[in-house]
Amino acid sequence: MPPSALTVFIVDDDAAVRDALGLSLGVRGYRTAIFADAESFLQAYRTDWRGCILIDIRMPGMDGLALQKRLLELGCTLPVIVMTGHGDVGSAREAFKSRALDFLEKPLDQSKLIAAIDEALLRSETFQQEAETEHAFAALLATLTPREREVMEMIVAGRHNRDIADEMGISARTVEVHKARVMQKLKVDSIAQLVRLSLGVADAGRGAN
């Protein structure tokens, strides 16, 4: 059973398809929200939405691929599943370039659809957790003193205590003290964990630029 906080957003111009997908997923316990076109979805869109989006490519007005691009520009991180009536290579390429998670051909195979949605929701969830962990870690980082921060960066870069002591002009013993404080403040148990978390923050920082 999928987590209840996550929603499947369905954008399709065909009323019957919307209704049928909504029913089929709803009966299986997914939370769904349906939209008749790209414009109304964009109007309603909020950054705190969690779940995944199911988009039909061929729609009057703004089509599915354009909607995908627009969402990317808005910094939307919801995984997107694209549906199409004629699965040509060109539109598949476009969709994947805009980071579509999956590309399904209509008429849809329901088991494939559900598998794709489950994967999307799972990814959305892990993504969410990672984001939260990183967020928390970033908050902890802010509590370090400049000196401690300097020591942490050198540890993450893989340098030895003696090395660090020489570079900073302090004794190896003092380095040990700093290191213990850093690990205590950041609530990590091992150097390995410290490295992994700090790399995640660095990645997120780069991604935002």
Binding site: D14, V27, G85, P107
Partner: protein, 541 residues
């Protein structure tokens, strides 16, 4: 596509390099002999020294047709035919052995020319294009010249003719054989080919043939009855050009045969001197060749136009199939989703109203899919345009209905106005494609421009008693004359998406209805479509 074309062509022409020889049945040699003797007998007049050298000698044409059909083995019955003709028609005062030698020589020469033709020309329709017609005429002219030369020398050497007459024998033999073959062979060839025979009989049954024959008789009378020196001969060109222009090669071939028989008859009737007859035969062969070339060009043009129509119909089918695939996918997606929902409901032990409702919707979607299939069948039934009476006002309103929403969304003033209460004769699904295509183009044109004053107008008016002119006008920038001239060509779209087949298909559909589709140059976009309407302008209902 290319591959298919190549395969199709190779099916039609099993051996493209030469004409395949048929197996001779026992009736074929008899037919050759009887036909040869009969033709020789019919054309035996003004003979030179009583030989088979006459101003018009169509019998070799039959020999050539047999060599083309059966290969060089036709030489045996041909020798017999020539021998019998000499012996029976001419009763030559020569020993039988000399007659036999001459027969073998003539038959051998004809077979050689026939074999060259068979190896050079492409089957099965050797008179199907200008190139093969030209090649055929060239081989016949050169071939009969060479054989006539050899024949004249041989006759002189054996003392059959006086030594001084050999040049005259060469000229007469060449002209007689050449004219006989050039004028008669296409007709004989067509008579022996099953498919060509059907074409010929269709050409004969055309009512215009009576007019053509009457004109031929009149022209013969003018050419031979009125003026001396046949200075009015050119009038004879009229009937053959008429026949060639209307019925293609089949008409030209028939007309040439009728004119030739008429000329021979008239020559006998007027009592022309043999030299004048030769001269007139030269005119006759020019006339026949001209007719054949006009006929072949007409045939070629007709073939190309029907091929193009077929291609356009395929393109229309392809475009239709794309649209239909999309329309089928939607209900099928809904059906499978409803089905999957029912499954899940049953698993949860739900058997009440929710399940019933889902099933009801599923059935509704399957009806929708069936409706798409029905339209598909309508479009492809026999691949032809079937005309039925369509109430114009209802038809235009329902076809334009999907555009009303789009007009409201894009701020376009869309009007359907001035539609007379008429009934057009048309194929409903095909005409829907045309109207939708024109409207869609108009909407795209105005949407690309300024947001103020966007408008699209669909209108119709009666033209005379039996034509309807439907107009689609938009407030877009209209077309430059350069764009308009390329507009109806396939793949000439000005839009970023789409193949640009829409207008080409629409025009093909309009023309298949006996109507027309064109654009008018001006300050705004105008497309007009004319269609046949039912004469009774007021609808019965």
């Amino acid at each position: 596509m290319n591959m298919e074309n190549r395969q199709a062509r190779s099916l039609i022409v099993p051996n493209a390099s030469m004409i395949a020889a048929h197996r001779m049945r026992w009736t074929d040699p008899l037919l050759l002999i009887a036909g040869y003797v009969a033709l020789d007998w019919a054309s035996f007049f003004h003979p030179l020294h009583g030989l088979s050298i006459t101003p018009w000698n169509p019998a070799p044409a039959l020999g050539l047709v047999f060599v083309l059909r059966f290969g060089w083995k036709a030489v045996y019955p041909l020798v017999a035919a020539v021998f019998l003709a000499d012996w029976w028609v001419r009763e030559l005062p020569m020993p039988l052995l000399v007659t036999l030698v001459i027969s073998v020589f003539i038959a051998g020469a004809d077979t050689a020319v026939g074999e060259i033709l068979r190896r050079r020309l492409r089957g099965p329709g050797i008179f199907s294009d200008r190139r093969s017609l030209l090649e055929w005429a060239g081989i016949v002219i050169v071939g009969t010249c060479v054989t006539s030369f050899a024949f004249a020398i041989a006759l002189r050497t054996f003392g059959v003719i006086p030594a001084d007459d050999w040049i005259q024998a060469l000229a007469q033999s060449w002209i007689g054989d050449g004219v006989g073959i050039l004028v008669t062979m296409p007709l004989l060839w067509m008579l022996f080919d099953e498919r060509d025979r059907a074409v010929l009989s269709a050409a004969i049954r055309h009512w215009e043939v009576i007019g053509q024959i009457a004109l031929t008789v009149l022209a013969l009378w003018i050419a031979f009855g009125l003026g001396a020196e046949f200075k009015y001969f050119y009038v004879l060109f009229l009937p053959i050009v008429w026949a060639a222009a209307r019925q293609g090669l089949a008409g030209a071939v028939l007309s040439a045969a009728i004119i030739e028989v008429g000329i021979i008859g008239a020559v006998q009737w007027v009592g022309l001197a043999p030299v004048a007859v030769l001269e007139i035969q030269m005119l006759a062969v020019v006339l026949a060749l001209l007719g054949f070339f006009v006929g072949v060009v007409v045939d070629e043009q007709q073939r190309i136009s029907s091929e193009l129509r077929q291609t356009l119909r395929l393109a229309a089918a392809g475009e239709m199939a794309g649209a239909i695939a999309h329309e089928l996918n939607q209900p099928l997606t809904a059906v499978s989703a409803y089905g999957s929902a029912c499954e899940a409901l049953l698993e949860q032990g739900e058997t009440g109203e929710r399940l019933k409702d889902a099933i009801r919707r599923m059935v509704g979607e399957s009806v929708r899919a069936a409706e798409v299939i029905r339209r598909l069948r309508d479009f492809f039934r026999a691949g032809t345009t079937r005309l039925e009476p369509i109430a114009l006002a209802d038809f235009l309103t329902s076809t334009a209905a999907p555009f009303v929403n789009r007009a409201a969304q894009d701020g376009i003033t869309f009007s359907v106005s001035g539609v007379p209460d008429s009934v057009v004769l048309g194929d409903r699904p095909q005409l829907e494609i045309v109207i939708r295509n024109l409207l869609s183009n108009a909407f795209d044109a105005v949407s690309a421009g300024a947001p103020e004053g966007r408008s699209v107008r669909l209108s119709a008016e009666l033209q005379g008693a039996d034509r309807i002119c439907i107009g689609v006008e938009d407030s877009g920038p209209g077309l430059s004359s350069a764009a308009a001239s390329r507009l109806f060509e396939p793949f000439s779209s000005s839009k970023a998406s789409g193949l640009g087949l829409g207008l080409a298909i629409s025009r093909a559909i309009a023309e298949a209805h006996g109507g027309a589709l064109w654009t008018e140059l001006g300050s705004h976009g105008v497309f007009r479509l004319t269609l046949p309407a039912e004469r009774k302008a007021v609808r019965a209902a």
